[in-house]
């Protein structure tokens, strides 16, 4: 029974909460800029509006153009099914689900890139090229972090078990855990195209990565894309949150409350980072990504035996 409740709450949080997080980030950034900012629930209104709109589609595009937003959302939802939220076991957990997680996100990325190249536009090609470059360099950082956690939790390869062992990991080897946290925070920022890798607000093509890939989408498809990227931020944020808050509160309901509070705190932190840092020069981004991989690699070496 409680497993069923866990799954239901997991799905409800996954499907309903992410746009609120983006609203929090927007509010924080606005406050830093001395403005009031948009309402917290603005993205929900935007999604409803987009769902009602007509579509303008390029004549150069093929069926693949609509597959991009669809798979971008489907892969994130399926990937989220293996991520444990707030010390509750994930709805699906099996040996090796962490690799499936990483590669489902890669599948979504592949089809987003393909949809961008489908338009035959120079801007989308540029965004696709940058996205491919950045994600290629960020992948090893994610999996090296998984290696550290696997070593510290006795060789398991399932996200639920890995993140459950985070508390013991912090107690035994805080150094490697801190490195993994730093690396995963960087991966979360780059995968979701936040500052300092990409600016979700500029809409200036020469400075964007993710925003420029979706320039030609409109109407319901654009709504799916915005919703999918909110979910992706939520899922990767949940990974970081599980590292930062390794201990449970003891009761099931308390864990959920702590998780929700943790996600709001994470959104606050992202908002602060976005307001206080500028976007890096593009040529510096690969260096930072390789640095994240090196941090994880040091963590692997430090967590030796």
């Amino acid at each position: 029974m409680s497993a069923f409740v866990d799954v239901a709450v997991h799905l409800a949080l996954l499907l309903a909460m992410p746009p609120l997080l983006l609203g929090v980030i927007g509010r924080v950034k606005a406050r830093f800029a001395g403005r009031d900012g948009p309402p917290l629930f603005q993205l929900y209104f935007d999604l409803a509006k987009l769902w009602r709109k007509a579509t303008v589609q390029s004549v150069t595009t093929t069926t693949l153009f609509r597959v991009g937003p669809v798979l971008g959302l489907v892969t994130v939802v399926l990937a989220a099914l293996v991520v444990p939220f707030g010390h509750h076991p994930a709805p699906v957990a099996f040996t090796g689900d962490v690799v499936l997680f990483a590669y489902l996100l890669a599948l979504g990325r592949f089809f987003t890139i393909a949809a961008a190249l489908d338009t035959g536009s120079a801007f989308e090609g540029m965004g696709a090229s940058r996205e491919a470059t950045f994600s290629c360099l960020a992948e090893p950082a994610l999996l090296l972090g998984v290696m550290v956690l696997s070593k510290l939790s006795g060789g398991s390869v399932s996200l639920t078990a890995l993140l459950d062992g985070a508390a013991a990991g912090w107690a035994r080897a805080a150094g490697p855990m801190a490195l993994v946290l730093a690396a995963w925070a960087i991966v979360m920022l780059v995968e979701n195209s936040r500052i300092p890798f990409d600016d979700p607000n500029t809409h200036l093509e020469l400075t964007m990565v993710h925003e420029v890939m979706v320039l030609d989408h409109s109407g319901p498809a654009l709504g799916l894309i915005l919703y999918g990227s909110a979910l992706k931020l939520f899922v990767l944020g949940a990974l970081v949150e599980a590292l930062v808050v390794p201990v449970g509160s003891g009761s099931a309901a308390g864990d959920w409350v702590v998780f929700v509070a943790g996600m709001f705190a994470l959104a606050l932190a992202i908002g602060v980072v976005e307001s206080t840092m500028t976007r890096l020069r593009l040529l510096r981004v690969p260096q930072l990504l390789v640095g994240a991989s090196l941090l994880s690699a040091f963590g692997v070496l430090m967590s030796g035996r």
Binding site: A54, T62, R66, F110, G125, P220
Partner: protein
């Protein structure tokens, strides 16, 4: 093992020799498939009955070989079919055990697909001269490969190996009027024969070890030096055939310059004879952790190097060839993991490593042949191998493009397709190694390498598919491309269906492969599916497909309901985009293939930028040269040639000097025959 007889007193076949007999008949069918074409002429109206006959014989041969493999994998005990021909050095023996059956299956499937494809791709009406010869060598290649996979006698194996190498040379040189093709053919021939030399050494040392050329004989001397020498020779020889870095230099040229269905055979199947050779060798000869480390590191390096070079290519067939190097590297990484597990006694590493290697062999054969046949369709339609001249081919050939998309997603190792299933198994094996004591370095090296390779593969295949099929046509040839014939599209669809089926049925395939683990590493009892729940992966594949289809239907209905208008690409409001404004393949990969790579693998740029206020001209060219071939091998060979130049003074061209050499040699031999009893006891 049972011993059967053939050709003496009539065949006496027991049920236990059926797989071997089927393979023998399949070999004869394929070998004979091309022979009628050499004698029957092509009719004036272009019809060629010999072509139909060769395709039919080939399909029969492949069906028999598939039946043999299925019988063997489902538990029929391997027999030993002796072919009592009056040849020296013993009796050739054929045997189909589980390991052979695993490799016979891709040979049969890909050769049949290529034969059917070749009917539309290389018809006799268009190629009346080269067609019959191509089919002859193709049949001979398939027959030779079937024997290579099933031979159990050293010299018989070498005989088939040589025929395979020579047949492949003639196939690569089909269009020998082009200089690039001739060059690629020569480089392939040289490398194949250098590899064969090492294999000659390996077979001779094996015979020394066990007293006869029969590989089933028990070893009489067990010296680790001998074992190491055998393994070293065999590894170099098989690595040259499989295309493991640094022995890969022949591969891109040969695969890119041959007709596409031949490329599919070479890349999908012939490389696997090298993999089979390493597995057969390591089942005969025990190896230690040193050998495992060498194979592991070679595989890891090969994987990263292959995909890094693939990213920088401008020719789509060369991209696919370098991607084959990457996948063979992954297979060798898995084999190295299995060898490590066998040497340190850790069963999970053996089971997961070997199963991942074999499953990836099957998967690679399927999707790489699909990709090369798709490349053939594009080449047939446009006549150019340059990616940056193409674009927008999807509307012209939607079904072929969808099949190629399946191949591309598989080759990039993405769920829900079969490339991901075998890489996932390898990941689990590497994570298991991480937790074990002795194998930790394998996991520490392997996991980041696989992650990096996965990212690069995604970029490479997104570039390949996007530049060729998506966007707007960049030149006239792309705009005028025609759809491929139904025969070609049908073959592509069948192979794409095979990829999907292999993904969904991967737990079943792994269960079938369990028998091979028992043959290769007796005493290892571990269940791959217990260690690696592949059922979840196939479930996820089905989930992605169903959820994606459902959401796609919902989205399409909503879009249709709310209304859709078609306009030019927004292009930030430019409103007059041309196809030249699109990103080319080279620009897509410019960053990853250029600045972010070490100097020696980087794409070389050759540009003359526009200068000043009224620039006259500007020029841009990029070359992706293989540093092994262009720099290191060339440097080594030139040094060797230069260093041996002083020997030429002995070749003065004067007959008297040569007679003097003969006299001196004779005198020296006389002297030696007198001095020898005192020198040697």
């Amino acid at each position: 093992m049972l011993r059967g007889e053939l050709f003496r007193g009539g065949p006496r076949l027991t049920t236990h020799l059926i797989p071997e007999t089927l393979v023998l008949v399949a070999t004869l069918a394929w070998g004979a498939s091309g022979v009628p074409g050499l004698f029957l002429p092509v009719r004036p109206d272009g019809r060629d009955p010999a072509h139909a006959l060769s395709t039919a014989l080939g399909l029969v041969g492949s069906a028999l070989a598939v039946a043999a493999a299925v019988l063997s994998l489902s538990g029929v005990v391997a027999g030993a079919l002796e072919l009592r021909w009056p040849v020296p050095f013993g009796v050739p023996v054929l045997s189909v055990d589980a390991l052979s059956a695993v490799f016979v299956l891709p040979v049969a499937v890909v050769s049949a697909a290529g034969a059917v494809y070749g009917r539309s791709y290389w018809p006799s009406s268009v190629h009346p001269r080269s067609g019959p010869w191509l089919r002859f060598w193709y049949g001979l290649l398939t027959a030779a490969m079937l024997v290579v996979m099933t031979a159990r006698h050293g010299l018989f194996f070498l005989f088939a190996w040589e025929i395979m190498a020579v047949a492949a040379f003639f196939l690569v040189s089909t269009e020998h009027e082009k200089q690039d093709v001739r060059r690629a053919g020569w480089i392939y021939l040289v490398s194949a024969h250098v590899g064969a030399l090492f294999l000659f050494a390996m077979v001779a040392l094996l015979a020394l070890r066990s007293g006869s050329y029969d590989w089933a004989a028990r070893p009489t001397s067990t010296s680790t030096t001998l074992d190491t020498a055998i393994f070293a020779c065999g590894l170099v020889g098989f690595a040259l055939k499989a295309g493991v870095t640094p022995f890969h230099f022949w591969l891109p040229g040969a695969h890119a310059n041959s007709p596409s269905h031949v490329s599919a055979m070479l890349s999908g199947v012939m490389l696997k004879t090298g993999v089979y050779g390493v597995l057969r060798l390591t089942s005969l000869v025990p190896t230690g952790t040193g050998a495992a480390t060498v194979v592991l590191v070679a595989g890891a390096f090969s994987a990263v190097y292959g995909i890094a070079m693939a990213l920088g290519q401008a020719d789509y067939k060369r991209t696919l060839a370098y991607s084959s190097i990457e996948h063979i590297g992954i297979i060798f990484l898995a084999i190295g993991l299995a060898l490590l597990g066998r040497a340190t006694g850790e069963a999970p590493l053996v089971v997961l490593g070997l199963t991942a290697a074999l499953l990836h062999t099957w998967n690679h054969a399927l999707f790489k042949s699909l990709l090369f046949l798709g490349a053939g369709a594009v080449l047939h339609a446009t006549g150019t191998r340059a990616m940056d001249r193409l674009g927008g081919l999807w509307p012209k050939m939607p079904r072929a493009a969808a099949a190629v998309l399946v191949g591309v997603v598989s080759a990039a190792g993405l769920p829900p397709l079969n490339g991901f299933a075998s890489e996932w198994l390898l990941y689990l094996g590497l994570f298991a190694a991480l937790g074990s004591g002795h194998g930790a370095f394998a996991g520490t090296l392997g996991v980041p390498v696989l992650a990096l390779v996965g990212g690069l593969a995604l970029a490479t295949f997104a570039k390949l598919f996007g530049t060729v099929f998506l966007g707007a046509p960049r030149t006239e040839v792309a705009a005028r491309a025609h759809a491929p014939s139904p025969g070609m599209t049908g073959t592509l669809a069948v192979l794409a269906g095979g990829c999907v089926a292999a993904s969904v049925a991967s737990p079943l395939l792994v269960r079938t492969l369990a028998g091979v683990v028992g043959t290769w590493a007796p005493g290892v009892h571990a269940d791959a599916l217990a260690l690696a729940p592949l059922g979840w992966i196939s479930l996820s594949a089905v989930a992605v497909a169903l959820a994606g289809a459902a959401l796609f239907a919902v989205l399409s209905r909503r879009i249709a309901h709310q209304g859709v208008t078609r306009q030019v690409t927004w292009d930030c409001g430019f409103a007059a985009p041309t196809s030249r404004m699109q990103y080319t393949g080279r620009s897509f990969s410019a960053w990853l293939a250029g600045r972010l790579q070490p100097q020696w693998t980087r794409v070389q740029l050759d540009e003359e930028r526009a200068q000043g206020l009224f620039p006259r001209s500007a020029r841009f060219d990029s070359r992706a040269e293989d540093p092994f071939k262009q720099r290191w091998y060339r440097l080594a060979l030139e040094t060797f040639a230069g260093g041996s130049f002083w020997l030429r003074r002995f070749q003065a061209g004067v007959m008297n000097l040569y007679l003097l050499y003969l006299l001196v040699t004779l005198l020296a031999m006389f002297a030696w025959s007198f001095v020898r009893p005192w020198v040697l006891p």
